[in-house]
Amino acid sequence: MVPLSWYLTLAAALFCVGLYGVLARKNAVAILMGIELMLNAVNINLVAFWHYLEPQVMAGQMFTIIVLTVAASEAAVGLALIISIYRRRNTVIAEDVDLMKW
């Protein structure tokens, strides 16, 4: 059998790759993709814990679906913001949006 720690390690690695994408990418859409990776890593964790620790309680799967909902909402609103910024300022580079920067 595959030990639980393998899944957790994979999820941690996926989370860190996503985090790198969020921190290092210039393009705002790419930053959002990094966030999606991180949310997926969280989902792997949730499902792995459900499978290994409490398969008769559906909380793990339930939480995963809520995370999916949040991911969908986040993608929808985030991308809408990016499109709006692009139409006003003609850029999708996160660093160029610095009007509020002190």
């Binding site: 059998m1 595959v2 030990p3 639980l4 720690s5 393998w6 899944y7 957790l8 941690a12 996926l14 860190c16 790759v17 996503g18 985090l19 994408g21 921190l23 290092a24 990418r25 210039k26 393009n27 859409v29 790419a30 993709m33 990094g34 999606e36 990776l37 997926n40 499902v47 792995a48 459900w50 499978h51 290994y52 620790l53 409490e54 398969p55 008769q56 559906m58 799967q61 339930m62 995963t64 679906i65 809520i66 999916l68 909902t69 991911a71 969908a72 909402s73 993608a75 929808a76 609103v77 991308l79 809408a80 990016i82 499109i83 709006s84 139409r87 003609n90 850029t91 999708v92 996160a94």
Partner: protein, 171 residues
């Protein structure tokens, strides 16, 4: 230690998923990054299958590959600039980000090693055959997850209204 079929499947899936994820954060071309993201989603779906959560695997494909990635590709096309699509796609602090991500991974790994319960979990617990029914019943049971269920619909409503207000304004 012998390697079982399960473990081989897991390792292959994990390798492909991580490779695709690495492409997502390094690809110069954003559309390539989006396609790699789809591959990552698919890899995660296979992991869900290996964890015997078939419903979630299907949801992963329907929702992430069928809906969210389409949204992302549309957004990429709507905000495409020839100038910004070429050249390096990372900012000046990318090395700092890499160090930070690696440090976080190291920290998580150390934590994983120190919790014995995580090493011992064998996955031999029986999976209920009617897990789908349990899930559906849990959604509408006031003693279980009714509140998140209704809140999800409110959240979706807010996301819909907000996105239309933000993206749909006339220039």
């Amino acid at each position: 230690m012998t390697v079982t079929v399960d473990q081989i499947l897991f390792l292959i899936t994990a390798l492909v998923t991580m490779g695709a994820a690495a492409t997502v954060v390094t690809a110069q071309n954003l559309v390539h990054a989006a396609l790699a993201l789809i591959a990552t989603f698919f890899g995660v779906a296979i992991l869900f299958v290996l964890l015997q959560a078939g419903f979630l695997a299907t949801v992963q494909v329907v929702l992430y590959i069928g809906a969210i990635s389409i949204l992302i590709i549309f957004a990429i096309m709507l905000t495409r600039r020839v100038m910004q699509d070429s050249g390096p796609q990372t900012n000046q602090q990318w090395w700092l980000a890499a160090v930070f991500a690696l440090a976080l991974f190291a920290a998580l790994w150390v934590v994983l090693q120190q919790v014995p319960a995580l090493q011992q979990a064998s996955g031999s617990l029986p999976i209920p055959g009617d897990s789908l029914q349990l899930l559906g019943f849990g959604f509408v049971d006031p003693n279980q997850y009714l509140l998140p269920f209704e809140l999800a619909s409110v959240l979706l409503l807010i996301a819909l209204v907000g996105s239309i207000v933000i993206a749909g304004e006339k220039q």
